[in-house]
């Protein structure tokens, strides 16, 4: 080999090595942390508003201290607000150009806030790789008009919560549930205390075949006989003297805590207290029995609690906020929310096998229906509740009640559509 060829070889090898080194440093060894030391050192304060309390609040505070320990330039302020004041407070503040960087709220706020440009899409801050770690239904629920408007923190749905001492064999369908309930009723103990709020009861409406909206987002609840079948079922429960069926959350809740109710419908938020009251081995969660009339499973609303980002925050704040949100929805904190506050995680990496209660809810969620967050959904609640209440009070027949409900819902929808036209 001539010395020239040797030199060329050396240069080629050197160049290749250099190029490799450069490319390695550019990609940062496969992780996606863009190293911008100058920006990270700038102190920044982000604010988060929520209505969490008890164990949830403890997890939040813990997460805040962990995050700020790892990111010394970030200060996080949290503000607890009474739930019924939170929506209005955010609305007014954000509209005036203020408000927190992060808002914790139910998914049904997303519709109105998106329309009013109060929250910002988070698509720029997440990618499909990141989202693959999350429950598809949850991600789907928070996507509006093709944009992802919030980050789901937890999911929930209602299911049957039962007292293991009193219920030895779970009923498979509603007929056997009623039989079981009747047999368990003695003294002031009831086999079934059923909350007739529409949110809790919707699973049977969907099992009966009722649909909420058509393709144009108009309500079609009185189409078909699903609504009527479900209302008839509820009336049957209410007429049964051995079953308590009422729109009274507190009653079912206290009775279960005192061991006076064998089966109730409730969601994960309540189970922690039940375990405290009765002991972990006495409380069980399972899917509600399927609807005997149609043979279909109970299909409750699946809802998410989400982190929303304020549209008013500047880019630096949005970025910092999303970074914290990603930490909050990362495996570590989601695991804490699960273990301490019994949140059902939206992050699929969380190990929930230790908890048969959460698994019970996850089982139920398999048949769940993502709750629509379109603004038309807001028109549904009260008319459907009126339908239920009036049928149970004997003030209306199911047929009339469901028709009235559909008319009321559509009237509301029309009126909102009219008023948003300019």
């Amino acid at each position: 080999m001539s010395s020239r060829q040797n030199a060329v070889k050396k240069i080629v090898v050197l160049a290749t090595v250099v190029m490799m080194l450069v490319s390695v440093s550019l990609t940062g060894c496969g992780t996606k942390k863009p190293a911008k030391p100058a920006e990270q050192a700038k102190p920044i304060t982000i604010t988060i508003w929520h209505s969490w309390s008890g164990a949830e609040l403890d997890v939040l505070n813990d997460a805040i201290s962990k995050y700020t320990a790892a990111h010394s330039n970030v200060t996080i302020n949290q503000l607890q607000v009474p739930f019924d004041q939170l929506k209005n407070k955010f609305q007014t503040s954000a509209a005036a150009g203020e408000g927190p960087d992060i808002l914790v709220g139910p998914a049904d706020w997303i519709g109105a806030f998106t329309k009013a440009n109060l929250i910002a899409p988070i698509d720029p801050y997440v990618d499909s790789d990141f989202l693959s770690h999350y429950v598809k239904g949850a991600v789907g629920q928070v996507t509006l008009n093709g944009k992802m408007m919030a980050m789901p923190e937890s999911t929930e749905c209602v299911a049957m919560v039962y007292n293991k001492d009193l219920v030895k064999n779970l009923p498979k369908d509603t007929d056997s549930m009623i039989t079981l309930a009747d047999s368990l009723q003695t003294g002031d103990t009831y086999g079934l205390v059923y909350n007739t709020g529409f949110y809790f009861t919707a699973g049977y409406f969907f099992a009966a075949g009722m649909k909420l909206f058509d393709a144009n987002n108009n309500s079609i609840v009185s189409q078909g006989d699903g609504g009527v079948k479900a209302l008839n079922f509820l009336k049957k429960l209410s007429d049964d003297p051995k079953i308590i069926a009422a729109n009274d959350y507190g009653k079912a809740d206290s009775m279960f805590k005192e061991g006076k109710a064998a089966m109730i419908i409730n969601g994960p938020w309540a189970v922690g207290d039940y375990v405290k009251a009765l002991g972990a081995d006495k409380v069980g969660v399972a899917p509600m029995p399927s609807f005997s009339v149609t043979g279909k499973p109970f299909a409750p609303f699946v809802n998410t609690k989400d982190f929303m980002i304020n549209a008013n925050s500047d880019d630096a704040h949005k970025k910092a906020a999303m970074d914290f949100v990603k930490f909050m929805t990362g495996k570590e904190i989601e695991q804490e929310f699960f273990e301490k506050a019994k949140h059902i995680p939206s992050n699929v990496d969380v190990d929930t096998s230790s908890d048969p209660i959460v698994n019970g809810f996850l089982e139920q969620m398999k048949n769940g229906v993502p709750m629509p967050i379109i603004s038309e959904m807001g028109a549904v609640w009260d008319p459907m509740q009126t339908a239920i209440d009036s049928v149970l009070a004997g003030k209306a027949t199911p047929e009339d009640a469901i028709k009235t409900a559909q008319d009321a819902i559509n009237k509301k929808i029309q009126s909102t559509r009219n008023s948003s036209k300019k």
Binding site: L57, Q78, Q80, Q85, T92, E98, A270
Partner: protein
Amino acid sequence: MKPKVKVKFKHLLLHLYVIFWVAVAIFPILWVVSMALDPRNISKPTTLTLIPPGATVDSFKRVIAHPYSGANVTFAKLLWNSTLVSGGTAFFSVLIGATAAYAFSRFKFPGRQAGMVSFLVIFMLPASAALAPLFVILTVLHIRNSLIGLVFAYTSFTLPFAIWNLKGYFDTVPKELEEAALVDGCNRNMAFFKVILPLSTPALAVTLLFGFMNGWTEWMLAWTFLTKPKSFTLAMTLYNMVGQWNTPWSNFAAFSILVSLPIIILWFLLQKYIVSGLTLGSVKG
């Protein structure tokens, strides 16, 4: 003998009647005290006992130690904030209200009738939709997220009633007294301070009390406007205790008692003024 017995019997009946209403009046208070002392702190009590078994004052200790679960604000700070806001509202309501009422009472100036009418308008108009513009204007003035903003807002809500009531009271103070003072060499300001005000103590006391109460118990505006826990008030934190699903009643009862006490004390101190202060002085001879 007979008339005496008759009188005694009549008195007995009246006493029974009054005692019945006293029992009605204090029943809820006894219930609240009972809940506050209940060690179980459950969502819903199941029996009607005055002093529950195992009565403790733990709930009081709990709420004083940790009144607002969202942040570490001390009870003392909340109490101080509430006092500032209420005191400020009371003070400004009296000061501004009395001066304005004096003008309406003593001077016949253009716009007087319009002004009086507008007070009634403001008094009778439910201003729930005014929350948003109020938010905006206080933000523009940079006082929204502070206790001063609250004092501003609360004073403004107290003023219509205050001016109307004070004016009515001032009207019953004979003009001759001021005229005598003016003749003696006082100017209008001195006449106002030295003659009218001292004679109007009952109405001023009522205005003070109403202003204080408005400031002490208002929670809706406070929750909409304030974002810094260090500036929160007792009324806000009490409302925050009523949870979305279940309320810890012992804590709530204990806190209610603590929050109500200053008002009740103020009431009893000013009790004798309330009657005369509200009846536009018509009881005076």
